[in-house]
């Protein structure tokens, strides 16, 4: 779906991280956690390509004034890293955005009797909030949030409000325990008696480690990947990632925008 969205708010929630709420057509309420949108930052040719962002949240807003006509909205949580995201951060309420989405394959809920272990690195948390919202209605959910410094640990309050138990770790020790969040994940896994399932999004190194842990322990694991995207609809073949049987001689590429961005970690080829 392609639609024009009115920005409702755009606020910096942590240094360099912004949360944007914008109007959306009613169909967006059915977005699967892990799906994404492609946003055209402005109508000029600089930047030229749309930018992909996970769907952080969807909801319905009832304006206090103005007759109370309800308005579906969509939220993104984004980090300013380059030209496109810094332009996004200068937009204001009532500016318009051209949006394509929801796109891609989101997370699979799995079965309710598993303990849900959500692992997010930095802005990788973005698509995990909507996931936690869904999972927390049926299962015990724990969040493992990692980052370089405390500025990279986002929206923990929101997760806690869902009843999610949160573990945080930062590389510099400025928030939570010092080190990688996978250590807390491992400790938790050692204690789990029943079944568990991992859902992860974050830097490739973190996903690699999480996929390794899941494989070793035979736990189901879904990861949300990034890829350099031009189209978001499976046409440019720019965004591909190597599938598990990939090798230079027997190439096996998966299309991140249509077959993903969420994959079973076992579907993919991981490094060491």
């Amino acid at each position: 779906m392609q639609f024009t969205s009115l920005i409702l708010s755009n606020v910096e929630v942590s240094p360099g991280y912004w949360r944007m709420r914008m109007t959306a057509p009613p169909e967006c309420a059915a977005s699967r956690p892990g799906q994404f949108v492609m946003v055209r930052v402005n109508g000029a040719i600089d930047p030229l390509l749309r930018r992909p962002f996970g769907i952080f949240d969807v909801g319905t807003y009832i304006p206090a004034q103005s007759g109370g006509q309800s308005q579906p909205y969509l939220e993104m949580l984004y980090r300013v890293v380059g030209k496109g995201t810094s332009m996004l951060s200068t937009l204001h309420g009532s500016d318009l955005l051209d949006v394509l989405g929801p796109l891609g394959r989101g997370f699979d809920q799995g079965s309710p009797d598993e303990e849900k272990l959500i692992v997010g690195g930095g802005v990788g948390l973005a698509p995990l909030y909507l996931l936690a919202k869904e999972l927390a209605t049926k299962s015990k959910v724990r969040l493992f949030a990692g980052g370089r410094t405390r500025d990279d640990i986002l929206c923990i309050t929101e997760f806690e409000r869902l009843g999610v138990e949160c573990y945080t770790a930062t590389e510099d020790g400025s928030l939570g325990e010092q080190g990688l969040v996978t250590e807390a994940l491992l400790r938790r896994l050692d204690h789990i008696q029943g079944r568990a399932a991992i859902y992860a999004c974050g830097p490739h190194g973190m996903l690699n480690a999480v996929a390794g842990i899941a494989a070793e322990r035979g736990i189901s694991c879904q990861v949300s990947l990034e890829g350099y995207m031009a189209c978001g609809v499976g046409a440019c073949l720019g965004c591909v990632a190597p599938g598990h049987s990939h090798s230079p001689d027997t190439p096996d590429f998966r299309c991140v925008c249509t077959e993903g961005p969420v994959f079973e970690s076992g579907e993919l080829k991981w490094g060491e």
Binding site: Y228, A235, G238
Partner: protein, 308 residues
């Protein structure tokens, strides 16, 4: 001004009657079906498949794409399903839409090109063939077919010999004399010429000290290349008798109409479909609206109508 009238948008391209001159470019529109949600397939003149080869190709490692000022580079590496899977999985969709499907293809030798043309010729759902000659000739030390008039002519002749379908040859812009290339292809039997394919470009990541694309160089497309494309279309259209299809950086109806003034009988929409998946339909609609607003009753009157 006859602003109430509906203008005639149809064009004839090498024997194909198209409802309008807007065609989606190879490699930017999948195999058609990917865009069904965004484009009414019967609102455009024709669509062109991703470049096809005898065997499936997995393409290059990533990164395969990078944005540049006003454009993008791609080094997809001609990833495609191969002719057999194409016939089995992609062609059935073509039967469901009343719009000509054009198959873009390539090979690494003259024989491979001819074999592909022969195979594609047998598919009734394929209305025309577009030869991508911007590929290296593995038998001649890797010289790119599309940069040498003799090489290109031999590919075109070999394909011509095995197909009666309209044969479009897609020219590379990475040449000193695009007119010489165009004439060679025309003489070898091309029914139409499409241009331009991508320029060759490169992007570097300063901090990593590495090329951004895994393939080092890539094909340069998008609005940035439009001035080069427009110049080449104008040069070629003056020099050949067969129809010319204009490609390169077309983002809107004004761009498309400029290519027609320069001599193009039709246009292809490439990178624009990435930015706006409905671009081709919108461009066709806006071109018609422009004709209406300007009291022009036949799009064909725009072809080559540049005054200079």
């Amino acid at each position: 001004m006859k602003s109430a009238m509906k203008p005639d948008m149809s064009v004839n391209l090498a024997g194909m009657q198209l409802r309008n001159p807007v065609i989606t470019a190879s490699g930017t529109f999948g195999y058609g079906e990917e865009f069904a949600e965004y484009v009414d397939m019967e609102s455009i003149g024709a669509f062109i498949t991703k470049g096809l080869s005898l065997n499936a190709r997995a393409g290059n490692p990533t990164p395969r794409i990078v944005e540049t000022p006003g454009g993008m580079l791609n080094a997809i590496g001609l990833q495609n399903v191969g002719i057999d899977a194409f016939i089995a999985k992609k062609v059935p969709y073509f039967r469901t839409v009343n719009t000509p499907a054009i198959a873009n293809f390539f090979g690494n030798t003259v024989d491979e090109y001819a074999e592909m043309a022969r195979r594609l010729n047998e598919i009734p759902e394929v209305s025309a063939l577009e030869i991508n000659i911007s590929c290296p000739n593995v038998k001649q030390g890797g010289i790119v077919f599309g940069t040498d008039p003799d090489c290109a002519a031999s590919v075109v002749s070999a394909c011509r010999a095995v197909t009666g379908k309209p044969l479009i040859v897609k020219l590379s812009p990475n040449v000193t004399d695009v007119v010489a290339m165009a004439r060679a292809c025309e003489n070898a039997g091309a029914d139409a010429l499409s241009l331009i394919n991508t320029l060759i470009g490169m992007a570097i990541d300063l901090n990593k000290r590495r090329p951004i694309l895994a393939n080092i160089t890539g094909g340069f497309s998008g609005p940035a290349i439009k001035p080069v494309a427009l110049r080449m279309v104008w040069q070629v259209a003056k020099a050949v008798k067969v129809p010319v299809i204009g490609i390169g950086g077309i983002m809107n109806a004004v761009d498309a109409l400029e290519f027609m003034l320069a001599g193009a009988s039709a246009v292809q929409i490439g990178t624009a479909s990435f930015i706006n998946p409905g671009a081709a339909q919108k461009i066709a609609e806006d071109m018609e609206a422009w004709l209406v607003a300007n009291g022009i009753d036949d799009i064909k009157s725009m072809i080559g109508a540049l005054e200079s």
